[in-house]
Symmetry: C2
Subunit: 229 residues, 2 copies
């Protein structure tokens, strides 16, 4: 006997307006250059609600979430403002990033499979020799993906989550610094050393190399980035 049953996929209505607005605003804020002179940092609740064609209630809930996350500051009776991170704060973020990623490297030496570590090396095969400067944009993307892969491979979801959050604030910085000086060349050398340490399952070395690599970025930002406040 053949039973033909009706198969329907469950409709996902479990994404509320609050969440939609939250995501939309978050993306919008991340994609705008908040450090530009003429940046409009003030958000008008009523106008936003109008633009989204929703009421202020779910919008305000979304804004409350964004404030909790640090992307926005709500001043009672004054308005909601996109926050500019200070150089100090960016440096602290990179420091925390260094702590997290170096711990991730340590975890990888203990838990990751050889296959996974191998895949890291493949990411850079396309950038042989002097190819880096010629394809600086691609390399920048690969660079970011390398670090995110390490965080993911740690199998510690919390590390990845916190780092992702930090990354939101750092994206513009990171993209803007990669092409300075001899950074791309040094960067790829560092990466190779890190991969070697992971392959050798040398937890202490991998941790140290990752930490120093990231703290190098901090030093670079500290001395070379001026457009932060």
């Amino acid at each position: 006997m053949t039973v033909v049953s009706l198969v329907v996929k469950p409709i996902n209505d479990d994404i509320s307006l609050k969440e939609k607005i939250y995501n939309s605003l978050k993306e919008a804020i991340c994609n705008m250059n908040i450090y530009a002179e003429n940046a409009q940092l003030r958000l008008d609740e009523r106008r936003l609600a109008e633009q989204f064609a929703i009421s202020r209630t779910p919008l305000r809930e979304a804004l409350a979430c964004l404030e909790q996350e640090g992307l926005v500051r709500i001043v009672p009776r004054r308005g909601v403002f996109i926050v500019r991170k200070t150089k100090e704060e960016i440096l602290e973020m990179i420091t925390v990033w260094a702590a997290l990623e170096s711990m991730a490297a340590r975890l990888i030496t203990k838990n990751a499979g050889d296959r996974d570590i191998e895949s890291l090396r493949k990411m850079f095969t396309e950038f042989e020799d002097g190819q880096i400067r010629a394809h600086i944009d691609e390399y920048s993307e690969t660079n970011i993906r390398f670090h995110q892969t390490i965080l993911t491979m740690s199998s510690c979801k919390l590390i990845k989550d916190i780092a992702d959050n930090l990354f939101i604030h750092m994206r513009s910085i990171r993209a803007g610094t990669i092409s300075d000086d001899d950074r791309p060349d040094r960067s790829i050398i560092d990466h190779m050393h890190i991969i070697e340490a992971l392959e050798a399952r040398d937890a202490d070395l991998a941790e140290r190399l990752v930490r120093e690599h990231t703290l190098n970025l901090a030093d670079h930002v500290k001395t070379h980035i001026d457009y932060l406040d």
Copy 2:
């Protein structure tokens, strides 16, 4: 001439209902034992609003913040539930904690003053010899304060903030594990070694000791704590 003026205490109007409710709920959730069998994990918006004698709007904004922070989960059309952390998640938190605190130790060796490091040692002078077990509660408090002091002394506000957030979820665990086995004795020995490394300004050693000390806690939780799911 005597001027009798009306003295009123400053109204704290720059703290919105949303924030007040947020703090109040957060404290309430942290202080209840969410792992008890009969724990009431469901929150009723309307009843809460009634209890606080406010409307649902600021309450919902506070709940949205709590959800963002991970203390609560809002299921559309179903309600808001206090989240129980799984053992897995607790272990990840301790891992991140280890990463942060070990980085904090590293920073201390570079930036903190001798006076500050000295103050760490003083925290334990009252627990000479076998005094620990006799005053286990006091020691537990000191123990927590020791770790928080390290985080603070790093002068990296972000490290402290993230760790504080993690600590909310770990408080009950930490308090419940300190008295097991020979942990208090080993704990104080570890602490002393950490202090010595800080005094010697040995960044690598201090970092390693702090990391191992915290990861020990993780191991202990992993093997000895069963009441998490």
